[in-house]
């Protein structure tokens, strides 16, 4: 039992690292506009899958790392991820029952909230223009949710079998 939970946690860190890599990959500018918040997608999956392991504090720390990684003001993603993970943990029992397309709708609203929140904080700092393409990552993130879901689930099941 002990070893299994260890494996599951290591799967979490591995995928989160991968998500961080994906989010700073140097894509061409056009693709980069659409690059979703991979870390948040992974976080949503893991909080839904094992809310007893991945708590709000975990999400907060992860957000702090993302802040440093992408050079944002410290606490921006931290607060954002903590709020999202709180919502996920609160609703994980219901969300798990939904089929994936229906989950996507919820994920869409999570991502939308996250992006709105980031815009709001950055706007207080006073260094952002609201252009339409600012919202593109929300849509692509929603489209990528089924992929993320199945990929991460297979990783989690693999971790459980070992």
């Amino acid at each position: 039992m002990q070893a299994t939970s260890q494996d599951r946690i290591s799967g979490y860190w591995l995928t989160v690292m991968l998500a961080m890599v994906l989010s700073i990959l140097p894509f061409p500018a056009v693709i980069d506009m659409f690059n979703p918040d991979w870390v948040l997608l992974a976080l949503i999956y893991w909080t839904l899958a094992m809310p007893e392991k991945i708590g709000i504090f975990n999400a907060w720390m992860l957000g702090l790392l993302v802040d440093v990684l992408t050079g944002r003001v410290l606490g921006l993603h931290a607060l954002d991820y903590a709020l999202i993970s709180y919502a996920c943990i609160k609703s994980h029992k219901r969300l798990r029952q939904h089929p994936v397309p229906q989950q996507s709708i919820f994920v869409f609203f999570f991502l939308l909230f996250s992006q709105m929140f980031i815009f709001w904080i950055e706007n207080i700092q006073g260094n952002i223009d609201l252009i339409f393409s600012f919202w593109f990552p929300v849509f692509t993130g929603t489209l990528f949710w089924p992929l993320t879901y199945f990929a991460l689930r297979s990783i989690r099941i693999m971790g459980r079998q070992n």
């Binding site: 894509f27 931290a78 607060l79 903590a82």
Partner: protein, 283 residues
């Protein structure tokens, strides 16, 4: 938790007290940035190792010629610099004496879209400090936004949040060039009747103290007079190849007052100049 985050946000926004925390965390995420940048570097290395001998030879030839031309130019520059120091000494003016540079390589990572910020592989362990000017061989690239222990973030002059004090090299007209988010700068504060034409070279004016004076920044590309508005719409293309550079120079410059020199005394020679002289004599 929410309260803690809000406090964090507020403190970070107002002061730089959290720099330590950021430095510690940045060491944690640096491996990720390196990992992302690795494939690009490897492919470039691979390309270099398969370049044909004749290509290398022609490139070598070209570089040798360029070096020769440059060193001839430098001969004249040296005399001019000494003269400039002497004249400024007469005026009791300050002059940038030694400028030290550090070569840093850009890591191929992309932090956020819409911001022109790059990560370079030299940080405060090499003595890099915030707000240091960054150049490449052609002109000003940007300034150090944040120096972290192993890396630092450099804001390019084309970032929408970046402004650089410039002056027209031809007539000394001063203005401020603001990044546009594209590979272009804008000069929004020049009146319609300002003496500026396409092709003018913009150099740093040294006002503001961040950038040393007299480095090329951009070339004026388009001047559009707007009769119904107070200011003309002027755009300029940066001299530095911001989208293509791999290596850049981080500059330390000290503005020290030159001691008043009497016209008869010989100006001091810098060690650098002496070295250059020596290399010319050996040639």
């Amino acid at each position: 938790m929410v309260l803690l985050s809000v406090i964090l946000l507020a403190v970070e926004h107002r002061s730089s007290r959290l720099n330590k925390t950021r430095s510690v965390l940045s060491v944690l995420v640096y491996p990720i940035q390196l990992l992302v940048s690795l494939p690009v570097e490897l492919s470039e290395d691979a390309y270099e190792s398969v370049v044909s001998y004749s290509d290398l030879k022609t490139e070598n030839q070209r570089l040798k010629q360029k070096q020769f031309v440059d060193s001839v130019k430098l001969l004249k520059f040296e005399a001019l610099e000494n003269e400039n120091i002497r004249l400024r000494g007469l005026l009791e003016n300050s002059f940038k004496l030694g400028e030290q540079v550090l070569v840093a390589e850009i890591l191929s990572v992309n932090l956020v879209p819409y911001e022109h910020i790059v990560v370079v592989n030299k940080g405060s362990r090499f003595g890099v400090k915030d707000k240091q000017p960054v150049l490449d061989a052609n002109g000003i690239v940007g300034q150090v936004l944040r120096s972290l222990p192993l890396s630092s973030e450099v804001m390019l002059i084309t970032d929408p949040n970046h402004a650089i004090p410039v002056q027209v090299n031809r007539n000394g007209l001063r203005s401020i060039a603001i990044g546009s988010g594209l590979n272009q700068l804008k000069l929004p504060f020049l009146p319609n009747n300002a003496d500026i034409v396409p092709g003018d070279l913009l150099v740093t004016s040294g006002l503001g103290g961040t950038f040393p004076q007299g480095y090329p920044v951009a070339i004026v590309d388009n001047v559009k007079v707007q009769p119904n508005k107070p200011f003309a719409s002027i755009s300029a293309i940066p001299k530095a190849k911001l989208d293509r550079i791999r290596e850049l120079l981080i500059v330390w410059s000290d503005s020290m007052p030159v001691p008043l020199i009497y016209p008869m005394t010989e100006p001091e020679k810098e060690t650098e100049n002496v070295e250059i002289n020596a290399s010319h004599e050996s040639r």
